[in-house]
Every structure is written in C-alpha cells, then in structure tokens.
Amino acid sequence: MMRIAAGIVAAVLALAGVADAGEKQLGRVAVPAVKIEKGGACVAPTGEMRRNHMKMLLHQRDRTMRQGLREPRFSLKGCVDCHASRETGSVLGKDGFCSSCHEYAAVSIDCFECHSPNPQKRTAARP
Amino acid sequence: MARIHYSEIEGRSGAYLALLAVLGALVLGGLGAAWYMEHNGHYVTGMSNRIVWGMPHVFAIFLIVAASGVLNVASIASVFGRDLYKPLARLSGLLAVTLLAGGLAVLVLDLGRPERLIVAMTHYNFKSIFAWNIFLYTGFYAIVAVYLWTMFERRMNDYSRPAGLVAFVWRLVLTTGTGSIFGFLVAREPYNSALLAPMFIIMSFSFGLAIFVLVLMAACKWTGRALGDVVLNRLRNLLGVFVAAVLYFAAIHHLTNLYIARQHDVERFFLWEGGIYTALFWLGQVLIGGVVPLALLFGTASRRAFAAAAVCVIAGGLAQLYVLIIGGQAYPQMMFPEKEVASSFFDGVVAAYAPSLPEAALGVGGMALALVLTAVALKVLPFLPKSLADGDVGGAAA
C-alpha cells in the first residue's frame, strides 16, 4: 500500500517537472519573462519593487486622490511611460510589462480598466 | 395549549421537483442577465443617466421591504404574545431571510461594479443612509437566524421573546432606513419627505403579509396540511387593515402636496399628466393594490378571494414602487423655477424609460431565488406546523 502511494507521488512529481518545460527555467522553477524596456534606475531596487509595488501603488493612490499629492517618483503615469513596450506601446498584452508577470502569477489587475496603459505626450509642461 | 408539532415537507413529488426546476431556471436567467449587464455595461439596459435606478431596483426594494414586513407575523406571536400566530412564526422568520436574500442579490448584481462588494463592506461613510442599510441588512440576517434558533431549539424557547423584540425593533429601523434612502434626497420633488420612512414601514406590513399568506396557503395545500378558517380570518383582517393604511399614507402624501403651490407641477404629473406613471398610480397602486383587495377581503369569506387579494396587493405594491422609484426619477429636477429648460442631457423634460429584458430577468430572478430558497428550506428543516386546523391552533383567547 505504501509502495503504491510512493509510486504515485513519484510519478506526479516527474510529470510536474516536465510540465514546466515550456517556460524559462531558473533552476527548477519557471519564471515569467519580463521585458523591462527602459533599463537604469527605477523608483526602488528591483527586489523591493517586485515585493512591494502593490503596497506602494495602493498607498500612493489614496494620497494622490484624497490629498492631491503627486510625487513624480510614485506616479502611475511615470511607471507606464518607462515600462510601456516599445513595440505595442502598452504595459498590457502579450509581452506587456505588467501583464507578463501578472498572467504568470494569475493575479488579475483591474488598474487598466480605468487608467491608460499607454504613455501619452502631454502638451503642458510637467513639474 | 396543546404543543405545536412541526415537520419538514416531504419534497419528493414530481411537482415539487418541477417547482424547483422552474424557479431554478428563473434564477439562472437572472444570473445570466446580471452577467450580460455587467460585461457589456449598463447601456444594454433601459436605464440611462436620467433614470439610474430601474426595474431591478423596483423588484429589489419590493423584496427588501416585504422581507422586513413578513417578520410581522412572528413578532405578533413573540412580542405581542398572540398564541394564535405562534405556529406561523417559523415560516415568517424563514421568509424574512429568503426574501431579503433575493432582494439583496438583485441589488448587488445590478451594481456598476458588483465585484467591489467587499469594498462596500469594508469602507463606510456613516453619513450615508445607504451605508447604514448595509449594516442593517447584514445584521438582520444574524438577528433573524438567532431568533429562528430560539424557536427551533427547545431549550432556547424562553429566549424567543427577547430575540423577537430585538428583531422587531431592528426591522423597524431597517425599513425606516430603506424609506429614508428616498426621503433624504433633498433635490427631488417626488421624494424629499419625512413621510416616506413610515410609509415604507406600513408598505412592508402589507406586502410582507400578502406574500406570507400566499406561501402559507400554497405550502399547506401542496403538502396536504390542514389550514383552518380561524387562522385565515385573523390574517385576512390584518391584511385588510394594512392595505387600508397604505392607502391612507398615499392619500396624505398627495393631499399635502396638493396644498403647496410649489408642488403642484409634481402632483399634476403623477395624478394626471404622467402617462404610464399616472396609469400605474390610479389603476395599479390605488385600484388593484388598494380598493380591489379591500373589497375582496372584507366582501367575501372565500379562500380564493383571499388569495386573489394577496396577489393584487403584490401587483399593486410593485406598481407603487415603479411609480415612486422610476416616476420619481423621470420627473425633471427643478433647477430654474419659472423657466422652460432644455439641454443635451435631457434637463427639463420627463425622462423616457422602458424596462429591458435583462432588467426584468434580474428582478424576476431575485424573486425566484427567494422562493427556491424557501422551498428548499422547508424540506430541510421543520418550519411548517403539521396542522393549522381550527381545533389544533390556540383558542379564541389569542
């Protein structure tokens, strides 16, 4: 009985290993392919951005909406300006900066139902 | 007084399953309509920027108002100590919960962003009567659940009186809140009145009892339980009083408005020149919802007439809410007194509205949800007394 169970577990693990073969491998774990269009310094170190960007966005959006604080560092427009794909002009879509990771992680975002995913030229000078 | 015996319904007949199937199909239709509206946006409905609350809200508010009113029967038993109503208390509590579930389901599914219900339940602006209502509705579930428990659990029976009192007060506050949703709207002539809160309370008594009577009659007839005249006559008289009271409130509302020169245009709209709204007011609310039921209830003693009266009350209630909610929005807002107003946003004119299929499907789906939940609950737990024959219920003392 135990041997059958062990056999099943081994088979499942083997299959799981094969299933990830399609994605980029970092060791044995598949990772999403994120295209960071503009290199150089971001708002914070990459690791911190990956872990905390959601908290930053949630906190900052209330400060912007309710108090009118528009620090350029934390502007969503700023993120989009930098990270929009050079081909599609958007942070969504197949290789979009936001959607590539979010689709991989199956965490749906509804920011871009309202916010524009495209960078736009602004006619007036920005502070 | 003899102990009351309750039992579940058998719920194995083909007719019962057919009932569940039909109601289930209506519920699915409602869910499909909700998905269609949410996915495409509300432009697929008859609602617009002038009429933002349409058919779904008529049904939702009817169900919510009836939910609080249907608890009346249990309250009369527990709070006012009328033993005759005691066997009916469990069914009354059940209907309160299921009707509210149906109404809230319609309301939530019609929201522009129904997936944000969690936001609504975690962010409160306590100046808004709407926010208070969210508390009141969810609290109502909890309180009625506890109340039902005190009725079911023999060891808790002594607590059914205080539980019933809490439920009674809570639902008066809840219905006041529902009426105040409209009463607090300062800028609309058809609303903006302190009268709306008590009017909603009396409407809840009437609509709730009508639904209760129909469900009771159907449940007893279809499960072969005796339903004697003693119980029915009490309920008949009660419904008659409530229907008369609703007519009284409507009369006071309009008579007061007619006295005020500033309100003459509104009254002319509703009572005379409002097209569909005038027709629904006089034929629906007053005639079918008021005069005909009174004639049926006090004119004859037949059960069929009683059931017909209850159906008329429900139809009249829906008409009354249609006139209030949709007619109230159709009437233009008076920003510029003594001026004719026109604009691209339909200022100054009576707004057009035609109910669309998705809206009606959602509203009906909510009603079906309430009924199917009731039907299933009756099979799962003993809500119905085994017999309500004249010899089995409490004596004339109640």
């Binding site: 108090q67 | 509300h42 432009y43 617009s48 409160y124 800028a187």
Partner: protein
Amino acid sequence: MNPDRRQFLGWGAAAVAGAAAVTTLAPGFRLIELAQARSPQEAASKLQRWGLLIDITKCSDCDACVTACHEENGVNSHGRSETDAQWIRKVSLRDKRTGYAQTLPLMCQHCEHPPCVDVCPTGASFKREDGIVLVDKHTCIGCRYCVMACPYGARSFVHETVSGQKADVPRGKGTVEACTLCVHRVDRGETPACVEACNKDGGKAMAFGDLNDRDSAIHKRLRTEPSSQIRADLALNTGVRYQGL
C-alpha cells in the same frame, strides 16, 4: 520678579523654535498663505477654494466649453445620448411668462456641502480640502445613489467599457464620474479646459480662481459685482457662481 538673562534667552529660543515648528508642522500644512500653485509634493489645502464665475450674458450658441472638456478628459460619444457621459452641458432657458431666452454651461457645482458626498455609501464621492468634489474610482461600487442625490444632475454613470483614456484622466465602466474642475490641470497651476477654451474661442464668459484669495480676480469680481448660485435655497454654497441668471 526678574528672569535672568539665561532664562530669557531660553524662552526666546523656544519661541522661535515653536514658530518654526508651527509653520512647518507637516509636509503640506502651512499657516502662511499660498501665493502660487502648490508643488506636487504638497497636499491640497483648505486655504484655497477653487471656483468658477460664469457670466452667462456673454454666453451664446457657442459650446466651446463642452467640446474642450470632453476632448481634454477623453469623454467620447457613442451615439447614445441617453447613456453617454456628459461632464458639462449647455442648458437653454426660456422664461415661461416673458419668453426671455438664455443659455448657460452647467457642470458639477463643487458644493461646499455636497449631497453626493453625504449619500455615498463607501465614501468614494468626496470633497478635497481645496473644495474640488471628486469620485475615487477605486472605491466606487457604481450604486448611482450620488446621481440620484445631485441637485444639478451633474454626475454620469459610465454605461460601457472605456478605452483610449487620457493618461491624466482615468475613466472606467461601472463607476460614476463628473466634472473634476480639471484637477489634473489645476494641480499643475493651469486653468480648467472649459475656461481656457471659453477665453480663447468662446465668449470669454468663464473665470477660474481661488475663492479664498482676496487678491484673486475672481474674488474681486464676486465682491464688487452681483452673482448667484443655482438652487441657492439648498444652502450648498456652490463653488460655481453665475452672473446674469
């Protein structure tokens, strides 16, 4: 009693420190009047109250304000006039007795006591410290109670999926929206698009400014010329005032 020199110097230092602390209590909180547009790192402040003054005697059939607003904010028409959003509209009036005709632009009046803010169950409809009434789309559940409550019919419900939004103006299906007094422009020190268009292409009927600033043009005009609010009887103290009504 004679405080010695050390004590006196101590009090003086404390007084200066206190004054410095009080004038810079927290980022954005100043007791000194704001003389110009705030920087992006400063919060909106109660010291300012933005408003409009519209002289409708200068209004004609022109609708430059409407076109400019909808262009600036990405409010597109779908050919469905009953459900399309309108952030500003021209309203035509005709006196019932005398037949005298006028037109005026009507938008969110940015009341000091907004009924829409009172009735919003989630607090999504709110008034910023500087008087601009906004909808926080992150919290809006689309219940439309504010649309019912607004005395001016200023709010629109978004009845369809929105695409091609302007970067400065997020808009989405299922939420409610209204004139934002071009808050994205105001925060940059500019005027709302309607005012700019009126002064450029229209009848020069609209003026924008800080109602709390005694030296502003709008304040001077309100002090010296007659003006009125729509539905002044509701005591909402609107930020939009009209002349010639």
